[in-house]
């Protein structure tokens, strides 16, 4: 199954090292595929470098798409990270 969501980046610092790390970790652990679209660029969320290079700052509007099993659940996790104004603590 495929599902998508439009999300406004809320992190005050934008999608920086720690946030990108958490996003990529989720995408890598996911069996399906997660894509981020910002303006005209679409990248795989598995690539931390691609995610960083979008240069997402607070207020950027992005479209997140997930293909595969448990797509909704994965989108929930990702949007939770992107919509919290402060850094969530990583779960180690």
């Amino acid at each position: 199954m495929e599902t998508h969501r439009t999300i406004l980046v809320a992190n005050q610092q934008g999608v920086h090292g720690r946030v990108a790390t958490m996003l990529a970790k989720i995408a890598v652990a996911y069996d399906g595929e997660v894509l981020l679209q910002y303006k005209n660029e679409i990248v795989s969320c598995c690539s931390i470098l691609d995610v960083l290079s979008l240069g997402l700052t607070q207020g950027s509007e992005i479209k997140v798409t997930a293909h595969g099993e448990k797509a909704e659940e994965t989108l929930d996790k990702i949007s939770q990270i992107l919509t919290s104004a402060t850094d969530p603590q990583p779960d180690n």
């Binding site: 610092q13 090292g17 790390t21 402060t86």
Partner: protein, 591 residues
């Protein structure tokens, strides 16, 4: 024999210890990749060689990860991001594709991938995210090291322990170095509050950073003497200098043993006059050192670290955790937290508003900074004050406002505090309602209005560094006028006296937290002027306490009156030197 002469270079001492040893210079540019063509039948072998290097680098990172306990979340997150970068398709798949399509060696292919990544990062407008390219470089350096079959740090293989000299030492390098036969390290980049510095201190690895061009000045095999406390580095020392340092080092050991005796005695004079000796710190990692040196409180906590460091931006919870740790560790002693003391140019990446134009400020020292900046970015300020208030129940908190120059700034801050308190009350959160609030007296207008301010605050903290700079109109970093920066300038001493007298007239304590407080010639004069608290770098505390315990207050008071009459710093210093050689010869000589 070296033909090049000995010289002394001043860096930033970030992790204490005096070391004499030979250096190994690590130059990253030795890893610059060449290009060569491969016959088609060797391509798969080359791809495998690259994959092995990536796999090896990953194993290294994973094994370093074990060095950090879970409470070092920032450090763990850095390593995790390096693992992800290492395995990123833009590194791995891209490089393999270049090898296969062009029949070239892995080093060159990796360099091509990197320049593509760099081109992408160059286009990122946000400076903070753009700066993550430095992580990509750190990761690529590890792959190169393994491809070349040599670890740059494997140069360090002799039996003799050495001092490592490098351009930039990453936190991971620091841990790695710690496992090798290393005495200390010197680096061109870095500062007191970098992650690398913190890790070096926690591993007891002496280090001096901020040494520009040091990898060019030194060659492998050269000898150095370094002092991780003062930041002094003697390059290619003469036999005489080595002897001096060995003697100094021995002398220091003897003195340290003696000083240890003072750390847990009361800070009082022979005739029973008590003052508070407290510590200036920047990070909570310094707390063990603070307690070890017998500080009776934190006289100045510079709160900027949380704003500059970590991949994380300081949310209320992060700040709260820092302040809670400070207060709980130091209780029942007071902890003085100075609110954010910077300009917006330093915090660009947090703020919706762009302050990059502040680089062009003609007079940054007179610009939008410290309390002015906090009141301008009131949301940021409110978050800091809110976390301070919430932490206030864990110990004795004193809030110190920097660069206050008018009453209005104080009133505005009080209004913000009142709002936060009523919010907290509504939320049912606990806090100390009568939290102590003070101002830094560091602008001449605050000195002149000290009697008025004294009625409005609970304490004064005199910041002598800025007070001297602002009253004498001297920029200490300007080499042409730096010599005129003079703590014993009679105008400076009178301003301190005026502030102390005004504070005491209203019954509030006055502390000094600039460099003067920890200077063995200045400290007695400050005490003689009636200062109630001296706050200094932790290692200096026992020295000042020893001096204090050998002094009589009436004599210090008289001494201060005499120094007030000196016409300039030179006269004051000469007078003090002769006075002390008469009364406290040991205290001054061994400083």
């Amino acid at each position: 024999m070296h033909t090049q002469p000995s010289k002394i270079i001043q860096g930033i001492g970030v992790s204490p210890g005096i070391i004499i040893g030979k250096v190994v210079v690590i130059k990253r540019q030795t890893c610059r990749p060449g290009w060569y063509q491969l016959p088609p039948e060797q391509i798969q072998q080359e791809v495998q060689r690259f994959k092995d290097a990536v796999g090896g680098a990953e194993q290294e990172l994973l094994s370093l990860r074990k060095y950090f306990t879970d409470d070092l979340a920032d450090a763990l997150s850095i390593i995790d991001s390096h693992v992800l970068i290492l395995k990123d398709r833009m590194i791995v798949e891209q490089t393999i594709q270049i090898i296969e399509q062009n029949n070239v060696n892995a080093e060159w292919a990796l360099a091509q991938s990197l320049s593509q990544i760099q081109a992408k990062f160059d286009k990122i407008p946000d400076p903070y995210i753009k700066d993550r390219y430095s992580d990509v470089k750190h990761v690529a350096d590890r792959i190169y090291g393994l491809l070349f079959g040599q670890d740059p740090y494997q140069l360090i293989q002799g039996d003799e322990p050495v001092v490592v000299v490098a351009n930039d030492v990453s936190p991971e390098d620091t841990i790695r170095l710690h496992k090798e036969n290393i005495l200390a390290f010197l680096a061109e980049k870095g500062g007191q509050t970098s992650h690398t510095a913190i890790i070096a201190r926690s591993l007891n690895l002496p280090a001096v950073v901020g040494l520009e061009y040091i990898t060019g000045v030194l060659q492998t095999g050269d000898e150095v003497i370094l002092n991780g406390t003062t930041g002094e580095v003697v390059v290619r020392p003469t036999a005489e200098q080595k002897e001096q340092y060995q003697e100094y080092s021995l002398h220091n050991r003897v003195r340290d043993e003696e000083l240890a005796y003072y750390t847990h005695l009361n800070s009082e004079t022979i005739d029973g006059y008590t003052v508070r000796l407290s510590a200036n710190i920047e990070v909570t990692e310094e707390l063990p050192n603070v307690l070890q040196n017998g500080a009776e409180g934190i006289g100045l906590f510079r709160s900027e670290f949380d704003y500059f460091h970590g991949v994380s931006h300081p949310c209320e919870e992060q700040l709260y955790a820092t302040y809670k740790e400070l207060l709980a560790t130091m209780a029942p002693h007071p902890v003085t937290v100075r609110t954010l003391d910077v300009g917006g140019d330093k915090l660009m990446h947090y703020l919706s508003q762009n302050y990059s134009h502040m680089d062009d400020e003609r007079n940054p020292a007179l610009g939008l900074r410290s309390i002015r900046f906090s009141l301008y970015e009131s949301q940021l300020f409110a978050t800091q004050l809110r976390s301070l208030l919430r932490a206030s129940v864990h110990g004795r908190l004193r809030i110190l406002l920097p660069l206050v120059s008018s009453l209005n700034e104080l009133y505005q801050t009080k209004a913000i505090l009142r709002n936060i308190m009523s919010d907290l009350e509504q939320e049912g959160a606990s806090f100390t309602p009568k939290v102590e609030l003070g101002i830094m007296v560091e602008v001449p207008s605050a000195v002149i209005l000290a009697d008025v301010f004294a009625k409005e605050v609970d304490f004064f903290g005199i910041g002598t560094n800025d007070l001297i700079q602002y009253s004498l109109a001297i920029d200490r970093n300007n080499q042409f006028v730096a010599h005129m920066y003079d703590p014993f300038h009679p105008a400076v001493l009178r301003m301190i006296k005026h502030t102390v007298d005004a504070g005491h007239a209203q019954g509030i304590p006055v502390s000094v937290c600039g460099e003067m407080a920890g200077d063995l010639l200045c400290a007695p004069v400050l005490l003689g002027l009636g200062v109630d608290e001296l706050s200094m770098r932790p290692p200096v505390l026992p020295h000042v306490k020893r001096l204090l315990r050998h002094s009589r207050y009436d004599q210090l008071h008289e001494l201060a009156q005499d120094v007030l009459l000196c016409v300039d710093g030179r006269q004051a210093r000469e007078f003090l030197a002769s006075y002390f050689s008469q009364y406290y010869p040991r205290e001054i000589r061994s400083s």
